[in-house]
């Protein structure tokens, strides 16, 4: 198998190098979190035509550090109804899962560190992407247990919503990366990055065109579905329903304060960074330099790819913030409908289509087999169309009022007149009504009749 060659670089580091790399990734995550919080507040501030944090340090860069220090010295309140052991464990689970997931994200190529050749990546496995998915799955436990252990209404509702949301969008996310595995033929992150290094040549309408090998270009549907479900998976706006302030106060961490709250906050931002890092790895060519820079041959060697990786990561974080600054929050039923009724079937159809195209391209099939495949696809399509659930008529929200003007019978509630017309204000200056307006039957005509009555 290819594992032997592709992953040969991994697992040979001496213990001090492993320790140094672990520490480096840890510090990178903490610094990125501190930076990302400042970055988000600053960008959202600019989008809302205000400066954002600008007092602590140059450009307000030390604002989130100051906030973190302040949180450490805050009073910790554990509600009387809490289940203390689980209440204590929940933020730890969230934090540990968030940190661990980043272990398999590649930062750069093999470099020489103190005379030791080693890849700029903590670890890689034949199933590296599964590590990220597994960690984000276990991270749901932190949220569910936090809501459950608080012994309070809002956290419980927030936790239930959050877990339902995360598992729903995990399905969409898991399906969207199947196409990547299919094209790359591996699940190891460094090999997926390597597979995107070369430009692809496509023969389209008899002409050969060269496009970048990034899967974001080759597999656009997968990329879009991945990004949408990544926003849902990290509970970010416009999918931040678990923390909908107007409905659920703070969601699952309503009862958390001080450092325990900070762990959840940290975990949320690290998850966002990890998901963006995975997106860069799977779809945006990983640490490889973007197109115009690739003309310079030194762009993809040495320590420089760290810069490209971080730049792509920040670009994705900007999109996260941009979405937050632009879009209003979805309603819960709309949100679940998007996940289960749109992203899921589109995903499955895309996978089958891609597999079909690949099979037809590769196999030199004779006529009968090709006819069989096309007939099979037609049968499947027919099945889908016949089984397709018909759109339900939307039920009217309110029953028709009875003659007494009440809804729901005699015990119902009175209905205010819905065609209420505001009577003209007695203080209003009598406006001259043009003679033509009365004939057209527009608003002006109704106003004039009201005044006459």
């Amino acid at each position: 198998m290819t594992q032997a060659d592709g992953l040969a670089d991994f697992g040979h580091d001496p213990w001090w190098l492993i320790l140094a790399k672990v520490l480096a990734v840890f510090v990178f995550l903490l610094l990125m979190t501190i930076f990302a919080i400042w970055y988000e507040r600053r960008v959202v501030g600019r989008m809302q035509v205000r400066p954002g944090p600008n007092r602590n340090g140059p450009f307000g860069l030390l604002q989130s550090l100051a906030d973190g220090l302040k949180l450490i010295f805050k009073e910790e309140i554990i509600p009387r109804t809490a289940d203390r052991v689980v209440y204590f464990l929940a933020p730890v689970i969230s934090g540990v899962c968030a940190f661990t997931a980043f272990a398999v994200i590649p930062f750069g190529p093999t470099v020489s560190i103190f005379g030791h050749r080693s890849p700029l990546q903590l670890a890689d496995l034949p199933v590296a992407v599964l590590v990220v998915l597994a960690c984000s799955s276990i991270g749901v436990y932190g949220i569910v247990l936090a809501g459950w252990a608080s012994g309070s209404t809002y956290p419980l509702l927030g936790a239930l919503r959050s877990s339902a949301q995360m598992i729903s969008y995990e399905v969409a996310m898991g399906l969207s990366i199947v196409a990547v595995f299919m094209t790359a033929g591996t699940m190891s992150t460094s090999e997926i990055v390597a597979a995107q290094a070369d430009a692809q040549r496509l023969v389209l309408f008899g002409q050969e065109i060269t496009i970048p090998g990034w899967y974001a270009v080759l597999l656009i549907p997968s990329f879009l579905i991945y990004f949408i479900s990544a926003v849902g998976e990290t509970n970010r706006a416009p999918f931040d329903l678990p923390e909908a302030e107007s409905e659920l106060v703070g969601g699952f961490h309503t009862e958390y304060s001080s450092m325990k709250f900070m762990m959840f906050y940290l975990a949320e931002y690290i998850n966002m960074i990890t998901i963006s890092g995975l997106c860069v790895t799977l779809f945006l060519g990983g640490w490889h330099a973007p197109w115009p820079l690739t003309l310079w041959s030194g762009a993809n060697s040495g320590w420089l790819p760290l810069v490209w990786f971080t730049a792509k990561l920040l670009l994705l974080l900007f999109v996260f913030v941009w979405l937050r600054g632009t879009l209003p929050r979805l309603r819960y039923d709309q949100f679940m409908r998007l996940g289960w009724k749109v992203l899921l079937p589109v995903n499955l159809a895309w996978i089958v289509m891609l597999a079909g195209i690949k099979v037809i391209q590769r196999e030199s099939l004779d006529g009968s087999v090709r006819t069989t495949i096309i007939a099979g696809v037609a049968v499947v399509l027919l099945l889908v169309v016949t089984l397709w659930p018909a759109a339900k008529e939307p039920e009217p929200m309110l029953g028709m009022p009875d003659p007494a003007g009440r809804i729901g019978g005699a015990d119902g509630f009175p209905l205010p007149p819905l065609d209420l017309q505001v009577p003209p204000s007695p203080r209003a200056m009598p406006t001259p009504v043009p003679a033509t307006a009365a004939d057209t039957g527009s608003d002006g005509a109704e106003d004039s009749t009201g005044e006459e009555a």
Partner: protein, 121 residues
């Protein structure tokens, strides 16, 4: 096969665990402690909290249904991943098998949709 490639992951996990545990543990000793009865009540918009058992008693069965659906599709994903990785090697046979499998799951999916399992009010 050796476990050496997994060691860095374990290392990061351990470091993350130590960091999380320490920061969660020191909080009560560093911060002030001026507790009173109202502070220790669960938060409920300033009113007297509704008495409820640990775990909040009952919750809508919809969430349970979502969890069951998640398991079905997660298993589908579990089957899809190895197929996707060895897609080149399996060839036409693998493709036909997978189309049959996806169709089977799709029938269940359409059934759930028709019965209203995916609707939220």
């Amino acid at each position: 096969m050796s476990l050496a490639p997994y060691m860095p992951i374990v290392g990061l996990l351990a470091l993350g665990a130590v960091f999380s545990l320490i920061s969660v543990t020191i909080a009560p000793f560093v911060g002030p402690r001026r507790l009173n009865r109202a502070k220790l009540d669960p938060y409920e918009c300033g009113i007297e909290p509704t008495p409820q058992p640990i775990g909040g008693g009952r919750f809508p069965v919809k969430f349970y249904l979502t969890a069951m659906l998640f398991i079905i599709f997660d298993i589908e994903i579990v089957f899809l991943y190895p197929w996707a990785v060895s897609f080149e090697a399996l060839g036409l046979f693998g493709f036909v098998e997978m189309v049959l499998f996806i169709t089977t799951v799709f029938i269940a999916y359409a059934y759930v949709w028709r019965r209203g399992g995916l609707d939220w009010e």
